[in-house]
Amino acid sequence: MAFDSLSDFFNMGGYAFYVWLSYGFSALVLIILAINSHRMEKQVFTQIKQRLKREEKLKQAALRRKEGK
């Protein structure tokens, strides 16, 4: 252990702001990236679902058109 006390640890020898800024920022962007990546697959799935629905609608329309003729 390089520090004597917890407050020493948080103080970082006077460099607290810079050290914790670095660690905080890095954690923040990495978490955002991880969440975003995790959600990506779901988003793609919903898009595909929407498209399949639209295709279904088109198919119905074409059928109706054929029957109409």
Binding site: M1, A2, F3, F9, M12, G13, G14, Y15, Y18, V19, L21, S22, Y23, F25, S26, V29, L30, L33, A34, N36, S37, H38, M40, E41, Q43, V44, F45, Q47, I48, K49, R51, L52
Partner: protein, 248 residues
């Protein structure tokens, strides 16, 4: 070699294979990062010159190295995408660029936060700092180009061309400290000979480096899977996946 590679170049196989790897990558990266960052923050010694601010080192250097490594990987993928028309390579470019941009941003910000106490300024326009900033712009360019095309396959090809052109920036970043005299520190960890650094700093550094590398692999895995799905949405197996998911 082609025959051996062929099954893995199949999108469906790659999708499932990557899916199997992801939990492993997650586990390894969590273990290494907890260990490495714990060592780095609490147990490694303070530097006799830089004091406790040296703890930024364990973020800054892995992030900087990964930012370059990811770009190199992306450029290699780009070359395969253009030469062998490999659609999976296009998907991996799209998956890698945002990760690389994130690590570049981390390298820049941690560098700046280290520079303020050490050099007395957040930012100077020296060769290494500037070329790293250019790297960020290159990543952003690849992402912007990727988003600008509607057609995923065209987007992949266009981004490939740009990624390959930008690769000249990598040697500039790496050798900038040797070619120009700058404020930035010369190579210490990346020398091939025995590192000129004590073991109780070197070990946490290496653990952190690998921890971040596996984190990259894990995030890449997820994005890669999503890109594969998006690029193959016409295929029956994707439709089957979608329908199966709908039932749950």
């Amino acid at each position: 070699m082609w025959k051996w590679l062929h099954p893995y170049a199949n999108p469906e196989v790659s999708y499932h294979f990557t899916g199997k790897l992801i939990p492993w990558f997650t586990a390894i990266s969590v273990i290494l990062l907890v260990l490495g960052l714990g060592l780095a923050l609490a147990f490694s010694p303070a530097d006799y010159q830089q004091g406790e601010s040296v703890r930024i080192f364990y973020l800054h250097v892995p992030a900087a190295m990964l930012s370059m490594g990811i770009y190199l990987g992306m450029a290699i993928a780009a070359l395969t995408a253009l030469v062998w028309q490999l659609k999976l390579a296009e998907a991996s470019i799209a998956a890698l660029a945002p990760i690389g941009a994130t690590f570049t941003a981390i390298a820049l910000l941690t560098g700046a936060a280290w520079g303020k106490p050490m050099w007395g300024t957040w930012w100077i326009w020296d060769a290494r700092l500037t070329s790293e900033l250019i790297l960020l712009f290159l990543y952003l360019g690849v992402i912007a180009l990727q988003n600008a095309f509607e057609d995923k396959s065209l987007a992949g090809k266009a981004a490939s061309v740009l990624a390959i052109v930008g690769v000249v920036n990598l040697p500039i970043i790496h050798y900038s400290v040797e070619w120009w005299n700058t404020l930035h520190q010369g190579s210490t960890v990346s020398k091939l000979e025995r590192p000129s650094m004590s073991a109780d700093m070197f070990i946490p550094f290496v653990v952190c480096l690998f921890g971040f590398a596996f984190l990259v692999a894990r995030i890449f895995g997820e994005r890669f899977r999503a890109e594969i799905i998006a690029r193959n949405s016409m295929r029956p197996w994707v439709k089957a996946l979608v329908l199966a998911q709908e039932k749950n």
